[in-house]
């Protein structure tokens, strides 16, 4: 029995991992397949995929659609700006919470996360009115401000935890060497916690990129993010061809996937390994 146990355990673990992979990857793989095959091939039962009919023409058609390209651009601008703002304000908020003797520190931290516990649906009408009064409806800036407000609490929490791991002496050394507190943050603490900061940045970027609800309500024509555009494509422009929708979906998926792929080394270190000094 003992020998059975020795292989059973890893086998069970691998089976579970395989199942999980299937669960997460299969839908994406299916959309990827749909995006390069004529609709008839995969709507028939059972599906009949034909390698010789594989084509990128649906991608070409999608990219020829100005509204879709504009939505991609909007998402890129909004997500990048949100990420940068989140990092800037997040670092500036996380540092004192991690390092200085801030009175009621835990209260601030709790309050910041409580705001995120209110369902977005409840906040959407006040947000709409707020942005309308500020004349920021349907603008990039409007989305950036709202996304930043919603992602910032998470970013602060994440960065605070990374900053707390930096030994006090390291910062003290920087300050003795000639850094102000802000200088020590920028020149020493952030570089030293780079894996964590990068992981946090990716988190913020993906959070903004994938947002749908606020984009749907707060933007109508000019600053429509790609998530919202995708949903409207399903019902309007591309209704005739599911392959077009699949190609658009794949294109919308690409930037965050590329980002994770490029920064993978950092992210894994930041999230799993922790920091070593």
């Amino acid at each position: 029995m003992a020998s059975a146990g020795t292989w059973l355990r890893p086998a069970a673990v691998y089976a579970l991992v395989a199942l999980l992979l299937l669960w997460t990857v299969a839908p994406v793989a299916w959309i990827a397949t749909m995006s390069v095959q004529p609709e008839i091939n995969y709507v028939s039962v059972p599906p009949r995929l034909r390698l010789e009919q594989t084509s990128l023409r649906w991608y070409a058609a999608t990219l020829a659609e100005p509204e879709f390209v504009s939505a991609l651009r909007t998402s890129a601008i909004v997500s990048t700006a949100t990420m940068l703002l989140c990092l800037t304000f997040g670092a500036l908020a996380a540092y004192p919470l991690a390092r200085l003797n801030v009175p009621h520190r835990n209260l601030y931290l709790s309050l910041s996360i409580v705001a995120r516990m209110v369902p977005a649906m409840i906040l959407i009408i006040p947000m709409f009115l707020l942005l309308r009064n500020l004349r920021m409806l349907d603008t990039h800036l409007g989305l950036i401000v709202v996304y930043t407000a919603f992602l910032l609490p998470y970013v602060i929490w994440m960065l605070k935890n990374f900053f707390e791991q930096v030994p006090y002496a390291l910062e003290a050394a920087a300050r003795m060497d000639g850094c102000s507190r802000l200088g020590a943050l920028v020149r020493v603490i952030i570089p030293v916690t780079a894996p964590g900061v990068v992981a946090t940045a990716v988190f913020a970027f993906i959070g903004a990129w994938n947002e749908f609800l606020f984009g749907l309500i707060l933007s109508t024509r000019v600053a429509v993010p790609v998530t919202v555009k995708l949903s409207s494509l399903v019902s309007t422009t591309f209704h005739s061809d599911t392959s077009l929708v699949a190609a658009a979906g794949m294109l919308a998926l690409l930037p965050p996937v590329l980002l994770v792929f490029v920064l993978n080394r950092f992210i894994v270190r930041g999230l799993v390994e922790g920091m070593k000094y």
Partner: protein, 369 residues
């Protein structure tokens, strides 16, 4: 010129009083060690001097100028930390050059200083390495180098040797002393290791519970500790303390500590001006391990101060042996010649050198004046 003066320095962390009314004059070129057990306030005192910790009360003066409210980098001091605190994302060269770059020194000057310091410390071949590729001793050198290149007015060192292994520590101890002489800098050195304090400092500042207990030259503190704490903290093995009643018979002072009755030599008694006030009162007397001899191994042992002790353990150290012994209710350690015939569990005659006894008030634990 770099004279540091601390005036009535106090630091409170909430309800905790970490440093209380510390006043200290640190002359130019001196090597002062702040010595004490952990939590005594020595590091907090250093951090306040550095500007890393805000002062609750009191003043810090550098060459007569109050710098209490100055930022760390405005004070012209450099610090070496216990865990080295090298920047892990920079190589050795950049670690050492960082402070100079921030101060916008010309490139050639930075290069000259870094290379000179590296040569002085024997780390020229490590300049391109990252801190994680260095051994503890090498990291320590880089940390010292980072301080040296700044050519600071004052070096602050926070237990810089305590993370090194014993052999390296002894070696670095000597090197730091040499470096101090060579740089003619003012050094404030924090340690809990009394050997470091004794061997390196011109002056020792012994601290406990946030208070300064005693300030003095190493031998002065060793020979004339002001209280039981200092007496016990300095010296290894620690001073032995026993209780007895002070008696005076026929003009001769005795310590009555049954079964021992130990005469105090008149010249020793004369050192204590107010000894007369303690007649027939309990006192604490302290005697260092090296002042208790194996009677067999010394010439002319004084029979009056010779006692038969029960030897519990003999610890041979090679160059000497420690005898852990008891006499009645009193227990003590004696540091004797390694050729002692004392054996575990057997009685052995030892002689107390009463000319070197230390007397303390039992109530206040202060040295009798």
């Amino acid at each position: 010129m770099s004279r540091v003066e601390l005036r009535g320095l106090s630091k409170r962390f909430g309800p905790v009083h970490a440093v209380r009314d510390v006043s200290l004059n640190i002359p130019d070129h001196s090597f002062v060690t702040l010595l004490g057990p952990s939590g005594c306030g020595k590091t907090t005192t250093l951090n306040m001097t550095a500007g890393l910790e805000r002062v609750t009360q009191g003043d810090i003066l550098l060459d007569g100028v109050a710098i209490t409210a100055w930022a760390p980098h405005e004070r012209g001091m450099a610090m070496v930390f216990q865990n080295y605190a090298l920047y892990p994302h920079m190589n050795v060269y950049d670690n050492m050059a960082f402070g100079l770059k921030l101060r916008k020194f010309p490139r050639a000057e930075i290069d000259r200083r870094v290379k000179e310091a590296a040569r002085m410390l024997g780390i020229e071949n490590l300049l391109n390495r990252k801190p994680k590729e260095l051994s503890g001793g090498q990291r320590q050198r880089v940390a010292v180098g980072r301080a040296i290149v700044r050519e600071p007015k004052v070096f602050l060192m926070d237990e810089p040797l305590s993370n090194l292994d014993a052999k390296l520590r002894v070696q670095m101890r000597a090197e730091l002393s040499k470096l101090h002489r060579r740089l003619e800098a003012t050094v404030i050195y924090v340690t809990h290791d009394q050997t470091e304090a004794m061997t390196m400092g011109d002056r020792i500042v012994v601290m406990k519970d946030g208070f300064i207990q005693q300030v003095g030259a190493p031998l002065e503190v060793y020979e004339k500790p002001v209280n039981v704490f200092v007496a016990g903290f300095i010296g290894s093995p620690a001073m032995n303390f026993m209780e007895g009643i002070l008696r005076r018979e026929d003009g001769q002072y005795y310590l009555d500590a049954p079964p021992m009755k130990l005469p105090i030599p008149p010249q020793k008694a004369a050192e204590y001006r107010r000894l007369g006030e303690y007649i027939d009162k309990p006192v604490i007397f302290g005697i260092r391990p090296e002042d208790i001899d194996d009677t067999e191994l010394i010439a002319n042992p004084n029979p009056e101060t010779t006692v038969v002790a029960n030897i519990e353990v003999v610890e041979p150290m090679g160059s000497e042996s420690y005898l852990y012994a008891t006499v009645g209710p009193h227990s003590f350690v004696a540091r004797v010649d390694p050729h002692t015939s004392a054996r575990d569990g057997e009685p052995h005659r030892v002689t107390l050198n009463m000319a070197r006894v230390h007397l303390f008030d039992k109530e206040t634990e202060r040295r009798i004046e």
